[in-house]
């Protein structure tokens, strides 16, 4: 218990003085996860809209697969990406292993099914509302998708934030593909793992507090957003 208190007080000191290591690691976490979020959303949201409005033979199976992929263990994704990006692997020539780009790739793969599934649910509901009107107006498929995406933007933002929450706390995959290299690929979660392993609880706790803070903030945003949706604002 004494350890914990000593750790916590040291953690607060690091936070308050904006310790250099802490800041650097936090910024990198944000860089990686926000990039993954943007790229993941650009892939997942139109995909969700496409699945909502187009009817094609394998639509139900695709949706089922997407839902199943949400349960993909992140560390397995990390392993597969590692094997693919390793120099002795098919895309080794790109030299991406142990760089932040590899971490972004792994995180994108992990969060796209999540964002797409959640978004698809909302878009499907909205489509059942709009269906008669938009068909009657003869709008194109592209216009249907864009109309849905715009009008459901609050729900889509919620879906994206869920993806963010998943990604920021992920440690297995990015540890494997990033290598947890100091000053290069070390982020909040991997640093916590490392520092805890070394027995240096102060820094680990400080980082943990930030991570928890980020996760809580994101969840609060989701909560606030869904309330504004119900009240019909913006």
């Amino acid at each position: 218990m004494g350890d914990l208190w000593a750790g916590l007080s040291e953690a607060f000191r690091l936070l308050v003085t904006l310790d250099g290591d802490l800041v650097e690691i936090t910024l990198r976490s944000l860089q990686v996860t926000l990039s993954a979020l943007v790229i993941g959303s650009v892939i997942a949201l139109p995909l969700a809209a496409f699945l909502a409005v187009r009817r094609f033979r394998w639509r139900r199976s695709v949706i089922a697969v997407l839902n199943a992929l949400m349960g993909l263990p992140p560390v397995v994704v990390g392993l597969v990406v590692y094997v693919i990006l390793s120099r002795s692997g098919p895309f080794g020539v790109l030299g991406l292993l142990f760089t932040p780009v590899a971490m972004i790739i792994a995180q994108v793969i992990i969060i796209v099914p999540l964002i797409a599934s959640i978004a698809h649910q909302s878009l499907r509901d909205l489509w059942s509302d709009y269906h008669d009107l938009l068909i009657s107006m003869n709008v194109t498929q592209g216009q249907k998708m864009r109309t849905l995406l715009w009008d459901a933007r609050r729900a889509l933002l919620t879906a994206s934030l869920a993806g963010f929450g998943r990604a920021i706390g992920e440690v297995g995959a990015i540890m494997i593909v990033g290598g947890n290299i100091e000053n290069a690929t070390r982020v909040l979660t991997t640093a916590i793992a490392l520092e805890t392993g070394k027995g240096d609880f102060a820094l680990a706790l400080g980082l943990g507090i930030i991570l928890v803070g980020l996760a809580i903030t994101v969840n609060l945003c989701i909560h606030w957003l869904s309330r504004t949706e119900q009240e019909g604002r913006w």
Partner: protein, 267 residues
Amino acid sequence: MRRVFVALVLMVWAGTATAQETMRLAVTTSFHNSGLADVLLPVIADDLGLEVQLLIVGTGQALKLGQAGDVDAILVHSRAAEEAFVSGGYGPHRTEIMYNDFVVIGPESDPATVGNASTASEALKAIARSQAAFVSRGDDSGTHKKELALWHDAGQGADGFGPWYNAVGAGMGAALNTASGLGAYILSDRASWLNFGNKGDLALLFSGDPVLFNQYAYLPVSAELHSHVKSDLAAQLEAWLIGPKAAELINAYSIGGETLFTFNAKP
């Protein structure tokens, strides 16, 4: 609103540019846990303008990374595996840099009376006999290989051990943590032990047997096999590591007054 957003974006992505040369070196967790890297790396950056990115993994994985060409050089401590690496053509040569020793750590109360042993073999036999809790690296690292070799020499087969033998599959720091938590015996390199921050009830119980000798060597990865490898930078680093400045820093490195490594490279 838009301006705030742009400012946030810039703030997050600012400062990602680096001007130095970089190379990747896979090192063992034992080496990293000693803290020596934190002393050497800044000096290397100053002297050579070289940023060495460390991948901290077990010896087994370091060798694999070298074989695959995912790193430019490796620093490990398992002679047999290193020689196999070179003879397999994965690296042109191996260069000895420094050595330290392994020690037997255990709970202060020492239920297996390891402190009374006169050789490493006796110490391990005592632990096996008393079935006191023991933590093994279990990760195919240099330390792990050493531990298995020692059990073998003591006439014990690690495969047949009961639940008192815990193979954690982790680095030195994490394994020490587990040992601390379990109040168990563990074989560690002296440097990692001295630098370990969570000793709890553990104490150094046995050391000094010559068989616990632990040699570190530097192996550049073969540029013939992997043309993308930064072999010139790896060569620069190697030259520095066997040079006088490295010798000075390594021999002077101490924790709590005890020096950890002895430089033994032949220039």
